[in-house]
């Protein structure tokens, strides 16, 4: 067995390895294929981000238009400041609103962008002012219980009020 045979097979081996890594990186992982898309960064402040994570998608009308880049707590306002990278080709008006939604019933959370009517567009560094926080399940349940309880009280009150009127 001479050197050339070894070199050939080892070369083939290494090329196979690189090819499989490339396959895994491009076809299997969430790396956006091709050129890194240009993005611009805007921020939005939320009372509660729920389970939102960095790299979560930012969608408008269900289509992915960007990614969550950063999540920080503002020490002055105690609100969560979420930085999102929106792809350059998508422009949103300055009065767009951002809300935190859940994909499916128990799925991952993402940021939904709803465009507004303003002529001026968001630029890098701008803040989205209209935000709607995530639905936290406990708050939802306690709200539901509370409203149900007050409903009963009202209906009890009205029925009690209606009864003597008879």
């Amino acid at each position: 067995m001479n050197r050339r045979v070894y070199d050939f097979w080892v070369g083939l081996f290494v090329i196979l390895g690189i090819a499989s890594l490339a396959f895994l990186a491009l076809r299997v992982s969430n790396v956006s294929s091709g050129n890194p898309t240009k993005v611009y960064r805007v921020t939005a402040a939320f009372d509660n981000i729920g389970g939102l994570k960095v790299r979560a998608p930012v969608k408008s009308a269900g289509v992915v238009v960007g990614r969550v880049a950063n999540i920080q707590l503002d020490p002055k306002t105690y609100r969560a400041v979420v930085s999102i990278d929106i792809e350059q080709r998508f422009s949103f008006s300055k009065d767009s609103s951002a809300e935190i939604l859940t994909s499916g019933i128990l799925g991952d959370q993402y940021v939904g962008l709803n465009p507004g009517g303003d002529d001026a567009m968001l630029a890098a560094g701008d803040k989205i002012t209209l935000t709607s926080s995530a639905l936290v399940l406990e708050r939802l349940i306690s709200q539901f219980m509370f409203s149900k309880a007050s409903e009963n009280k009202d209906s009890a009150g009205t029925s009690a009020a209606a009864a003597p009127a008879k």
Partner: protein
């Protein structure tokens, strides 16, 4: 001394010193890169068959079992995610590591042990050539280089196997198989960590294989015992390191 614990510590200490000696002599090994290439052929290329075939079968089984479990929850479109994450994070590095230890690790141990038994290593020393630099270090680095490549190939074949069974045979939707996979598999978290694991396992298996060969008693039973020890120790170390690495890497998720 006889006490197994003390003997064990002595052996580990000797192994650590040996490992440092191998690293120290590695400069010479890299200057004679042809030696390393030759060893990559024997450790890596000759392990290709077992890795590719095993990867395919593991992936196919994952496809079958994964579908069976997922469809109970109506989540059969997540099959791609299940197969790819299982392979990239765990099965790829670990199973490829175990197979590598059995096939290439034992071969390295046997070869070095035999060279020791037939006085080839001593002969080399007497010819003023350092056997650690010429014989041991190339085999060590060949193992470290081969392991990540083999793990990546294992994972790739596994995913293709899962695709074969899930989409082609069973009928899971091809589009959701790949799109869900692509949205859930992260380049750094999953593929990157899997790669790091395979490099760590490669280092572990190579050190153990090379050391056991060097330390083997110069007899037939000695060499065969050393070969067995290589496979057993490597397997245990791989599984143990896997737990530790997984705990560090995937805690946040």
């Amino acid at each position: 001394m006889g006490n197994p614990f003390v003997d064990g510590f002595i052996k580990i200490g000797f192994a650590a010193r040996f490992f440092l000696a191998v690293l120290w002599q590695s400069g010479t090994a890299f200057r004679r890169f042809g030696l390393i290439i030759r060893e990559v052929y024997f450790s890596g290329v000759l392990s290709l068959v077992i890795i590719l075939v095993s990867g395919l079968f593991v992936g196919m089984v994952l496809g079958l079992q994964g579908y069976d479990t997922l469809q109970r929850f109506g989540a059969s479109e997540a099959l791609g995610v299940l197969v790819s994450l299982s392979l990239l994070r765990e099965l790829g590095p670990v199973v490829a590591g175990l197979l590598f230890a059995s096939r290439a690790g034992s071969a390295i141990t046997a070869e070095i042990g035999l060279m020791k038994a037939t006085e080839q290593l001593v002969a080399m020393e007497m010819m003023a050539v350092n056997p650690v630099a010429r014989v041991i270090a190339p085999r060590f680095w060949a193992g470290v280089i081969s392991m990540p490549i083999l793990a990546a190939l294992f994972s790739t074949m596994g995913i293709l196997g899962g695709y074969l069974v899930g989409v082609v045979l069973i009928g899971v939707d091809a589009g959701s198989f790949w799109s869900q996979m692509q949205s859930q598999v992260d380049l750094y978290q999953d593929i990157g960590n899997g790669l790091i694991k395979s490099v760590v396992f490669g280092i572990a298996v190579s050190v153990i294989a090379v050391f056991e060969g060097f330390d083997a008693p110069a007899t037939a039973e000695g060499v065969s015992g050393a070969t067995t020890r290589t496979v057993v120790t490597s397997s245990l170390v791989i599984l143990g390191l896997d737990f530790i690495l997984t705990a560090f890497m995937f805690r946040g998720i």
